[in-house]
Subunit: 158 residues, 3 copies
């Protein structure tokens, strides 16, 4: 079985879109696909409405407030221009009948894509496992990513 | 035969240079090399003087005007500083007898590197197939990239 | 033996951390790991106190002065905010008992990770081989990276 193991490091809308176009495309062709969300990439799988269960320290609150909360508030890596780029891109994608990131995430899950979140990043950024979207399967260490990548034909750092 | 399949997502000069140093290096060693230009990366293969055949809508015109037109007008991902970084880098490369991006693109083609452009990106950014440089072989979907990547030893997301 | 060959193109603290978390994690599991530092990534392995042996031309001095000098002065790719992001991140990592980049670099070396520096980047940026940290094994061309990547299971562009 062909396998793809992607590291999702970046938290920008355009890179998240590229990730999910690849992931859903591969999963739809029967590939085994694993996404390892780490660093800024974990913001893609933050829930916009779920809350932390435990009380947060000041730094965790600061990080939490400064970072985008979920797939609908990600910036672009390019042409940001006070948010104009992001809204242009979203409007444009809709007009061209390209699915939204939210829809692609749901599709990916349905197609069996595995969602892993990096435990170290979660810890450093002060997030708790209750704050992620339901699509997330597991909070794991880098060793789990390496095990997945070891026999993957396609490995990418996004 | 060793194979390399690169996703060229970024449209900055430095990342484009890295792409073509890898592509020409590998192709010169007899590797089979495929480049899949997507998102901002498609600006690298925009022609500076070819024009669209069909009339463009307002958004396509805006995207077209905002994005760099071809390999000689790309910004740097770093040290941009009002363009100083780009001209410093270019001057420097010339002084050090490193080929320009334009020359590397021509070399890559001659060495048999395959140039694929992502159809979805072309569509979202409002570009038409007539607007790309002659080196481009085909406008394709993500499925074509995946097929190339499947049996490639080296896959990278740039 | 499982093998990983990473291209370290970016010179930001967060991407450098991701690189060394992957490198030390893989090497600790017995993998053969090669890092190829190129473009801005070579700043990660610049020594903060070693000096060039030969006299530098004006451009080399400018590049040298503008780029970060070593692993303790790298910026973040995101949330930079006048350096606040970097110091927040470093303080936070310390609080969470995550090793510093400097410690990870030393660990990587001890675990047998190979450090290669791109000769073309060194030349364009006007650095000399005496200016790198002791961990660097060799100054090599892109061909050496390709040879390492050819039989690596995991290849990433960071």
């Amino acid at each position: 079985m062909t396998k793809m193991a992607l590291i999702v490091f970046s938290g920008e809308l355009d890179k998240a879109l590229a990730t999910f176009v690849l992931a859903t495309g591969a999963a739809a062709s029967g590939w085994d696909v694993t996404l390892f969300f780490t660093f800024w990439g974990i913001n893609i799988v933050r829930s916009e409405n779920k809350c932390a269960l435990e009380k947060k320290d000041v730094m965790s609150k600061m990080f939490g407030a400064m970072m985008p909360k979920g797939c609908e508030s990600l910036p672009l890596s390019n042409m940001h221009m006070m948010g104009l780029g992001t809204s242009m891109m979203k409007k444009r994608m809709k007009g061209k009948r390209v699915k939204s990131l939210k829809e692609m995430i749901a599709d990916a899950k349905e197609l069996g894509v595995k969602f892993l979140v990096c435990d170290m990043s979660m810890d450093v950024m002060g997030l708790q496992k209750e704050e992620f979207i339901d699509e997330v399967d597991e909070i794991v260490g880098v060793g789990t990513y390496l095990k997945e990548a070891k026999d993957a034909q396609v490995t990418l750092f996004i």
